[in-house]
Every structure is written in structure tokens, then in C-alpha cells.
Symmetry: C2
Subunit: 306 residues, 2 copies
């Protein structure tokens, strides 16, 4: 009942009002895998160049992430650099060098093929679909996407949406995908495109779940010391998928709890650059934040103390 994660592994250079880092460990598959690892073993598929530091490999291994699917190819690792605005609500991408990730053709090792939970991190929809052809009868497949693919590979994305169980994307992307300015209508329309569940991320404003059976929404976990928002969305998806894989099912009740676990892992992530804060947390700390969050959002506490 393992969790398969496929996506980018990057060296990020990031500047925020709180400082900067150069060539720090990043990438969607990295954030997602480490986030998920607090809940369930992860099998990673990704590619790096020969320059990928051994310390990063050791970090991933220390989180019990299976690296049988990690390719090391000739060339350099994917690099991204960006700078955040003073209020951290906007970021400019300064440079993108796909390097070895540019020709990434995910190869799912035999030992991963029976993974029951699969997360297809942001990537070309055709590439995401190629993974689906290499896994046997997954129980739950969640895909992420971004504005680039909505713009340039819409037909492929529409095809992908017929073949996955869930889609996770942010509010702007949901509006872009559907042409709807109302988020509720956007979520409902994406459901009609195929997925059985749609999670919409709204950053500091929380997240929204749509399914034909229910709607569910939560605020973000309150954080008063955001250092670097990079990777928060991937940690949300990772925490969510790790929790679901750990439970082995994605009922309504488990989906609600999974959204909260995704939220609390993301709240840890943003309290440091790169993986700095995330790597120092623990399942105990995440469970503590989970309980704090329940109190934070509960309208009618079962004990009516006031």
C-alpha cells in the first residue's frame, strides 16, 4: 500500500524579505515526498544531474523515501530561482533551467508498480499520463497542474482529467481552466471534467474540496512567521496523500482529515527556507498542530466550556 510520487527535483535559489538561499534542495517531488513521509513510506520517481549533492540524497533516505526510481543523468539538475515580494504574496521567477528534467521520461521501477496511491506532481500532462500506464490498478491517483499546461497542453490535460481520481490546483488555475470567475462554479465544472474530487489551494486563505458527495473548506493554519512560501502547495498535497495512503482509503471522512494534515504540513514548510523547517518537524508536532487546528475551526465544540 505504498505511495508513489513522480515530479521534479530541483536546486532552488530563493530570495524573500527574510533572507536568501542558493541551490537549496527543492522541487515538487521533494517537498511532496518529505511531507508524505511523516505518514507513510514513499516511493520517488525523479531525475537529477551528476551535480546533485550527496547530502540531499542522504536527507531523502533519512525520511525513508525509496530512491529506486531516482535517475542520475549526465548534465545538471533542474534549477529555479525566484524572488518574493515584501508581503510574500507575489513572486517573480528569475530563471528556470530545466537541464536534465527537460527530457524527463518517468520510469516506474517494477518494485513500485503495485503502488495503490499515486501523486503526479506538476508536469506535462502527457508525462503524467505515461506514469499511469506503468502502474497497476491504483486505488487513488491525484494530479497537480499549473497555468503553463492549461495554456499550452489543454487537450492533454482534459484527457488526463478523465483518467485520474483527483486534481489539486490553485484558485487562479481553477478559474483559468474553466473560464469561471466564481470559485464554486469553477470547482463544480472541473468535477464534470472527470475527477471524483478536486482540491483547490488558496494559499493563506486555505483550501476547498469539491466532490459530487460533498463540499468542504478550511482556512490555512495560522502562521505569524512565514519565512519562505516555496513548496507549501506541494507539502499540502504530500501531507494529504501521505495521510490517505497511511489510512488506505479515501472516504469523505478521511479526505477531510487529509486536507487538515496537508494544511499543517504546509504550515511547517513555510517557517524556513527549503526543507529547513520541514525536516526538523515530527509526526508528533504535526499531530499537535492537527489538534490545534481542530480547535481553531470547530464551530460547536462537543464540550461547551467557554
Amino acid at each position: 500500500m505504498s505511495l508513489l510520487v513522480v515530479g521534479s527535483i530541483a536546486l532552488d535559489s530563493v530570495e524573500t524579505p527574510h533572507g536568501k538561499v542558493d541551490d537549496a534542495l527543492g522541487g515538487s517531488a521533494v517537498y511532496c515526498s518529505v511531507a508524505a513521509s511523516f505518514f507513510h513510506p514513499v516511493q520517488l520517481v525523479g531525475v537529477v544531474g551528476r551535480d546533485f549533492p550527496d547530502q540531499h540524497v542522504k536527507l531523502l533516505e533519512s525520511h525513508d523515501i525509496d530512491l529506486s526510481g531516482l535517475e542520475v543523468n549526465e548534465g545538471e539538475t533542474f534549477r529555479w530561482s525566484g524572488r518574493y515580494s515584501a508581503d510574500l504574496n507575489h513572486r517573480d521567477t528569475l530563471s528556470v533551467h530545466l537541464n536534465v528534467f527537460g527530457n524527463f521520461q518517468p520510469k516506474v521501477p517494477d518494485s513500485y508498480r503495485e503502488s495503490r496511491f499515486v501523486f503526479l506532481a506538476n508536469g506535462a500532462p502527457m508525462t503524467q499520463m505515461s506514469v499511469l500506464e506503468q502502474v497497476e490498478r491504483p486505488e487513488f491517483v491525484l494530479a497537480d497542474t499549473m497555468d503553463l499546461w492549461i495554456d499550452t497542453a489543454r487537450d492533454d490535460l482534459v484527457e488526463l482529467l478523465r483518467r485520474v481520481d483527483g486534481l489539486v490546483l490553485n484558485d487562479e488555475e481553477a478559474k483559468q481552466l474553466t473560464g469561471e470567475s466564481n470559485l464554486i462554479r469553477a470547482g463544480d465544472q472541473i468535477l464534470e471534467m472527470g475527477p471524483k474530487v478536486v482540491m483547490i489551494k488558496k494559499g493563506e486563505h486555505g483550501s476547498f474540496l469539491f466532490s459530487p458527495r460533498m463540499r468542504f473548506a478550511i482556512p490555512a493554519f495560522p502562521v505569524d512567521d512565514v519565512i519562505d512560501p516555496t513548496g507549501a502547495g506541494d507539502c499540502f498535497a504530500g501531507g494529504l496523500m501521505g495521510y490517505l495512503a497511511g489510512q488506505g482509503r479515501w472516504t469523505n471522512t478521511e479526505l477531510r482529515k487529509a486536507m487538515v494534515y496537508g494544511t499543517v504540513v504546509a504550515s511547517c514548510c513555510v517557517q524556513g527556507f527549503s526543507l529547513d523547517a520541514l525536516r526538523k518537524t515530527s509526526r508528533e508536532e504535526l499531530d499537535r498542530r492537527y489538534r490545534e487546528f481542530i480547535d481553531f475551526v470547530t464551530v460547536e465544540p462537543s464540550s461547551t466550556a467557554s
Copy 2:
């Protein structure tokens, strides 16, 4: 145990992608009073001109709103006009004519002086404070404010904050008042300025409550047919205050429920121009939406059916 509401009464001309209205009933005290009236009798203090249509007076009376404090003065009623963007997230004020509201000196009738719950809708802080001097031992006083007063009457506003129990304002105003870009720090800082509870409205992203004893946040009630957002914030405050006045106390538990009632009244308000949708709703419909909202935000349902 009545609820006193003091604020503006206006004739609004509003244009949204769904149509337009001219000289329609509006104003913070009107939206707030009608919203509150579903939960508790309201005593209104406000001013209109001789041109104020009798049908609007009848509408307010039909909601059991006590109009002993309604002044009718020589001149024209306050008029505001505005236009919303295609996605309804931005609005331009096209014109403001304060008219009789420009010299508004609220006079609290003797029959209102023992009101236990008081809502000071958006207005000059000095004017809001003049109301406090006319009421005896209120149990809970909530004030609203706006960017104009933060800019032009900051000292008065700071003084007001020492004398009220609660402040309600939107997220941009909270950041402006404190100079903080992080909403959590902004809320905490406003608490230090005096109020025992701060409610921050985030429009379609929900609302946040800060008190020294707890933090609480909820999303907005999902509405897929927003016609006109005008008055939503006043309805939020009105529903909240009406519910609290009806309960006669503002414990943590009641504050949480009050936030939800404010949210569901606001969700009705935006489904029509002016008071069109709000006047057609009922306590039963609001209770139905309340229960729907509880299901919408509950992480761990007590019955674990899935």
C-alpha cells in the same frame, strides 16, 4: 436586552455584471439592522432626508426595527454609487453625496439607553464615541471602521479602540491599521490596542476571530450566484450581533456560532441587489444554511458515516 445599531442609511446606485439599480435602499445601518432582525429586535439610530421613500420605512418596520431613533431632516438622503468589476472582486466608487448624513449627530432616544448590545457601524470615530456616552452599561459594544478613518482620524480611532469590546474590519484595513503584512500579527496587534475581540472579514475567503482566549476562522458560505456584494460586510456584523443579542452573552462558544450566523446572512445578502434577497429570507432558511455550513466545515463529524 435590545440591540442598538447606529450608522448610515443610504440610497445606493449599483452596477454589477448582473444588472444595475438606482437609488435602492442601502447603508450600513440598514443592512446591519435587517440582518440582525432575524435574531433579535433592533433599535435603529440614523438620519434620512425628506426624499426618503416611505416604502423603505415600511420595509424596516416590517422587520420589527424600532425607528424611534430615525431622524428625518431637511435635505436629501445620503447617496452612494459604485460599479463592480466583472469578477465582482473590485469596485469603484463613482460618487458619494453625504447630504443629511454629513452633519449626523446620533441622538440615542431615552427608550434605547439601556441597550445591552451596541453596534457602531462604520463612521467617524468621534461620532461613534458620542454614542457610547449616551448608553448605560452596555454588555458588548462592537465597532466597524474603514480606511478613511485609519488615514484621517487615527488618534480618535485609537481612543475608540480602548472603549469598545470588539472591532470588526476587513483584512486590508487590519493591515493598514497595524502596518503588518501578516494577518495573524495584525490581528494580535489590534488586540493589544484594546478590544477584547477582533473580527477580520476577508470577503469570499471567509473571516477570522482573534481574542486573547482563542483564534477561530471559517471560510465563506459557498455561493455560486453572487449578484451584488454590497452590504455583505454589514450583514455579517448584523447577523453576528443579532445572534449574540438574542443569546444575551458573548462567550467563546456563542462568538463562534455568531460568526457562522453572520456568514450565512451575508451569503443571502449577496444573492440579490440591495435588500432584495435578504428581505425574502427567513430565520428557518438561515438555520438551514447554518446547519449546511456546519457540515461544510466540520473536520471530524461525530457520526463517522462516509
